[in-house]
């Protein structure tokens, strides 16, 4: 009897029964949208090779489709509980604020695909097909939120490596006449011509790395439900 009373585990059990508190309102309604808006802004940003001028690339229709499928994946895996964000018992203001956060998640996804998909030519179709294949398979797989988060991080990291490390390095960053470029980098020039890869300044890769990192941070901060309990 005395031994049982001395056991400290009882305190631990009580601690476990306490309700878990989600992210604060400031994180859900300010930090998270700010991060996702930054991703939306930077996802389509490229820097011109000659003068580092901004080039804002509008997303292809494919990016919207992929983003919509990814949103469905988030819901199916339980990473985003729709009734935890939008519910009839919530006030109109709360529903509107939650819808705004989900809208930024969607726009960020669109722009992330815009960042990771090559702009045109054969690479666009190959990488696009790989995305489609993966997303289609994932739609019918059983996921929990943690596994899905890891899977998405791996998918996006791989796509980033293909787009901004492999394909970007196949194009020379030098500007100049066609003849000059062929004489300086014959192999890279041939790949650029064959694969129809646009030329961007080296800074673009750094911006897109930052964009991907921000998006993954946003996903990490995204609660399953906007309700704090």
């Amino acid at each position: 009897m005395d031994e049982a009373l001395e056991k400290p585990e009882i305190v631990t059990d009580i601690a476990l029964v306490e309700p878990r508190v989600g992210p604060s309102a400031s994180v859900i309604y300010l930090v998270l949208p700010a991060i996702l808006l930054a991703v939306t802004l930077l996802g389509g940003l490229r820097l011109g090779v000659a003068d580092n001028a901004f080039i804002f690339l509008k997303p292809a229709l494919t990016c919207l489709v992929f983003a919509a499928v990814t949103m469905v994946l988030f819901v199916r895996s339980g990473m985003v509980a729709v009734d935890g964000w939008l519910a009839s018992e919530n006030s109109g203001l709360r529903n509107a604020a939650n819808a705004a956060v989900l809208l930024t998640l969607f726009t960020a996804l669109v722009q992330l695909y815009n960042s990771l998909l090559p702009e045109q030519g054969l690479p666009f179709w190959i990488v696009g097909f790989c995305f489609f294949w993966t997303l289609w398979n994932n739609l019918f797989a059983e996921f929990d939120p943690k596994r899905l988060l890891r899977s998405m991080a791996a998918l996006f990291a791989m796509a980033f490596a293909v787009r901004w490390l492999f394909l970007a390095n196949l194009t020379p960053e030098t500007s100049g006449s066609w003849i000059e470029r062929i004489l300086q980098n014959p192999t890279q020039e041939a790949f650029t011509w064959l694969l129809d890869i646009p030329r961007y300044s080296a800074g673009t890769g750094y911006i897109q790395f930052f964009t991907l990192a921000l998006f993954l941070l946003g996903l990490y901060l995204l609660p399953r439900s906007a309700s704090r309990d």
Partner: protein, 161 residues
Amino acid sequence: MKEKHFQILGIAVVAVGLTFIAFLYWSQPRTLAEVATKGSVAIGTYEVNKTEFDAGLAAFRQDQFVAARSAFERADPEKRDAATQFYTAYSYYRQGWGRVSNDDALFKSGLETMGRIDPNFRSVDANLQMKTAAELKFELEEGLKLTASDFNPLKLTKERK
């Protein structure tokens, strides 16, 4: 701050942020300076840089047309002011005009600039012989055409307008 305040602030941040991003992708600015210029156009506060315009006008009157166009470009980077664009087109005409033959490339650039001007525009500059956009456009178009009248020796007596 109450949760309600964060929600209101969140909606405002998202609305302003998405509007700004849509504006950037629509207007396609190439530099940070262009972001400000295009922003002022969007909200209706765009104005021509008066100092640069006056510098351009001074250069134009001294027949320094390249310098004049450069100053006009700085004065009206968005190419929206009819008067500035009229002087730019006029500078192409005056630089490209020749007693025997005209410079087609400059005349074509002049016509291209005329495309941005309201056809009903009328200049108040008393020093210009051609005061309306229609007159200048006609002169540029005629200058590009090759007709039998171009071989009339009396044309050598014509004067630049």
